[in-house]
Symmetry: C2
């Protein structure tokens, strides 16, 4: 059976928060009639894998209110209205959250964080040659500890559950697609 | 700087929907004072990679209200109160959404869909030997088309953006970790 589109009849913001608005969307289907669906309107998100010249990932350990516990993540966040594009937003987040910077940034992928309830994209980036250029500049609600993790340790840490944020794991998954570990061991030399 | 925990002072459900409740959580930090954070209380989620004896992934094409468009996904959804455990929930979703079944299911990973705003986990499974045993049994809001995709095509489809749901990509990422493509081509024989 070919699924058909729903038509949006009306959308109402039923609750607003600083990071998303909850919308009730009344929709009509050619055979299923009228129904309400709930959607979280949010800006696009970005995250970025900053790699130092020694092939360490610049990660942050921070408290997350959803799970009421700490996570190990790469820098990322919401696009601000002032950000020129997703890449600028990712670079800003890297600089603010870790104090590291790099101008060598590539987009490695983009995903829907959850197409059932979120209209937005998360844009995924990788930066090479990241170096510490300043102190972290966190907002008043943020506290984060910078942790350097050798890139070779990332997969074991995902497998063991030490890295558990879906959008962080997705970024490393695209990093592999973009830069697959095809070279034989003997040719994998440390580059500065 | 070592980040410190926030203490929850009070939680209030400010809006309820059929798939999550929006909670406002008042929290206190030892140095940052009192702040409100918003969290989506939702059941745990599950998804599952059903593999046929011919190494095709049983996927579904369905309309998603968040993005108001169609996606290509593996079966999955929310755990129901009646589900004995996440694996039973994943098997139920596979059967309902695709009509395929298998008793050979393994958990390949678990992630936080978004630890900033969601307390829940998404449990990831893979099923081998999946066979069509019945018609799809979709609820009144669901419409989904079953699509069989050879497992070898999944990575190119992720790279090209044909598969864009973060939690689906995460499942395939864990499938690789669990079952890495290490065998040389000559030994990869079709198993029935």
């Amino acid at each position: 059976m070919k699924p058909r589109k729903w038509k949006t009849l009306a959308t109402e913001a039923v609750y607003r928060t600083p990071i998303f608005d909850l919308h009730r969307r009344s929709s009509r289907h050619p055979s299923r009639g009228d129904r309400d669906f709930f959607v979280l309107e949010a800006p696009n998100w970005v995250n970025i894998i900053p790699l130092t010249p020694r092939n360490e990932v610049v990660m942050i350990r921070q408290y997350r209110h959803g799970i009421a516990d700490f996570t190990l993540e790469i820098p990322g966040g919401m696009m601000d209205p002032e950000d020129r594009d997703p890449m600028s937003a990712a670079r800003r987040e890297m600089l603010e959250e870790t104090g590291y910077d790099s101008s060598q940034i590539v987009e490695i992928g983009r995903v829907h964080p959850n197409p059932a309830i979120l209209p937005n994209h998360c844009y995924l980036f990788a930066a090479s040659g990241a170096r510490r250029v300043q102190k972290q500049q966190l907002d008043t609600n943020e506290e984060a500890e910078v942790v350097l993790v050798p890139i070779a340790k990332i997969k074991p840490m995902i497998a063991s559950g030490q890295i558990r944020h879906a959008l962080v794991i997705v970024a490393f998954s695209f990093f592999d697609l973009y830069n697959p570990p095809r070279r034989p061991r003997s040719s994998r030399k440390k580059r500065e």
